[in-house]
Symmetry: C2
Subunit: 93 residues, 2 copies
């Protein structure tokens, strides 16, 4: 494996974990008022496209990386809806 390949795989692995700190923070603080719902809706649509793209190419790195981000984005949407309902506030996108 060349240095360039190692850099690419490492960057890909970190990409899949980008949303993790947000999920943890939101679960801990039970508030997601300042978090953009639209960001995660775009991410869900986008990651679904990436998973389909990976499936069409039979590329498991693309499928798995984006499936992880997809699941975290869906988790954030659920958390945002739950905490917004609790705060009885208008859903702010």
């Amino acid at each position: 494996m060349t240095g360039i390949e190692i850099l690419g795989y490492t960057a890909g692995a970190i990409t899949s974990l980008t949303f993790l700190p947000q999920v943890i923070k939101t679960l801990k603080e039970k508030s997601a008022k300042d978090v953009s719902m639209m960001m995660f809706i775009i991410a869900v649509v986008n990651q679904t496209m990436w998973v389909v793209y990976g499936a069409l190419l039979s590329n498991w790195v693309i499928i798995l990386t984006n499936a992880v981000i997809l699941s975290m984005s869906l988790t954030m949407i659920i958390l945002k809806l739950r905490y917004s309902a609790k705060e009885d506030e208008k859903l702010s996108f």
Copy 2:
């Protein structure tokens, strides 16, 4: 251009805009208390790796896509620091 290529380019273009709604929402509401700082720090490190990776491969699609996300992540860190200072709260990661 095949259907698969079009799907890939479209997904790539949308990816670069994922953080845009968060930047707009934060600018509008002048608050980023619930937004994870760690998410954007990870994104900055990660996108820098992607830009270097794209440069090593001389791939302008990778360079440009990730440069856009990098600039939005840096913007969010600056906004988060500015509004956190104003709210006089402890920086919550």
